[in-house]
Symmetry: C2
Subunit: 235 residues, 2 copies
């Protein structure tokens, strides 16, 4: 069963974009009367039937919204310094979407080797992972900003900064309270510097360890996602 | 600080292979007297000093073995059907090594699209991830075998088969007992078939879910590794 992502989905007739119409008719070879699924990326699925299979203006007839079962009673926001190798970021976004995350942010940090990300490309990976893992919710992706600007934002719930330092022995599972919203900061390949950690601490971020293993940036970020998801399922 | 992997490391003088000697002298540009680290991949590190920086026969003088801190009191064995796309397997091996796994096996399953793996290449990735994450233990990697042959082996501790099925509501964290050795089977892209699940059940494998999310093979395998590691740290 094919899944289409239509952010503006609603019951009734909806026209696919030119790109999606072409994909539906030329690649998937769908014809009028074929059944498909639609997600709005906001928590709903729709059963739909192809009305007109036009290569530029395919029309879908959508049924009632059906809530997806991929909701969780907390908000998980991961923020990280992008890795030098963009593949590793794209991989993180794909896997985090599969496992379950609400929001992903990127920031420039003192030791960052990469100053930019291609949000359009990352967004496509996100949509594809949402469809592939049969999710009805698309994580929110944010443009890269400076570290200081990011940590100064207001966040609901708990705030953590993952830091590899002998002085940080407390692991995240000792502080995270299941059910709580949280934002977790993951540093670049060279980690955060002390000034950055102090700045975050002053704003209420707690420094935590993710365990004994020295993890790469993208691994640390993914381990955080699975840790929060699992801690909430142990309640 | 450079880390060399020498499976036969022992206190005293040790000669690097021709390949490693070339790497040490031509790429790393090490000279006599330089300090390096060595791991035997069996739980020990050694401080070492370059004796002779010969491009084919570099000699290292190793100190006493120093136990690494990457030991855990259980044995974690992941067994999976390789994905069609080998990148995904290599990615899994890298990440699982970083997070911590003792043994990785591969099997042919009814829905497997890939029948072979390049164990030499995967082994190199494993060594590289071990060094990069400052681990002293190299996971054991096994050649691919038939599913029936694999599940018939004898395993210590608990046995799980991850299966996406409406009848399987029990999640792995409800059955896994922290401290226990375990082996976890992860199916191919098309999942296990019922016959395979039944065969495993008859041999004592418990069917478990990894949560509501529909995960790709390599994501499910990695989620299993992090889940077992975290459950053991919650003790």
């Amino acid at each position: 069963m094919h899944i289409f992502y239509l952010p503006e989905a609603a019951e009734g007739a909806v026209m696919l974009s030119e790109e999606e119409s072409k994909h539906a008719v030329r690649v998937l070879r769908l014809v009028a009367g074929d059944q498909v699924h639609v997600t709005d990326g906001k928590g709903n699925f729709y059963k739909a039937v192809l009305g007109d299979a036009h290569p530029k203006r395919t029309v879908l007839m959508l049924g009632k919204p059906l809530p997806g079962n991929d909701r969780w009673p907390f908000y998980l926001h991961l923020a990280l310094a992008p890795t030098k190798n963009l593949d590793r970021m794209e991989w993180f976004v794909e896997k985090a979407t599969e496992i379950g995350v609400d929001e992903i942010s990127f920031f420039h940090s003192a030791h960052s080797e990469r100053r930019s990300i291609n949000l359009e490309r990352i967004s496509k990976i996100c949509v594809s992972a949402m469809k592939q893992s049969l999710k009805s919710r698309l994580p929110k992706l944010n443009e890269i900003v400076d570290y200081e600007q990011f940590i100064a934002k207001s966040f609901a719930g708990q705030r953590f900064i993952a830091w590899i330092d002998d002085g940080v022995q407390t692991e995240i599972q000792q502080l995270y309270q299941p059910g709580a919203d949280c934002v977790i900061l993951i540093g670049p390949e060279g980690d955060f510097n002390k000034t950055e950690v102090e700045a975050a601490r002053k704003l209420g971020f707690e420094a935590v360890s993710l365990g004994q293993a020295r993890l790469r940036t993208e691994t640390a970020a993914l381990v955080s996602v699975q840790t929060i998801q699992l801690l909430n399922r142990l309640k």
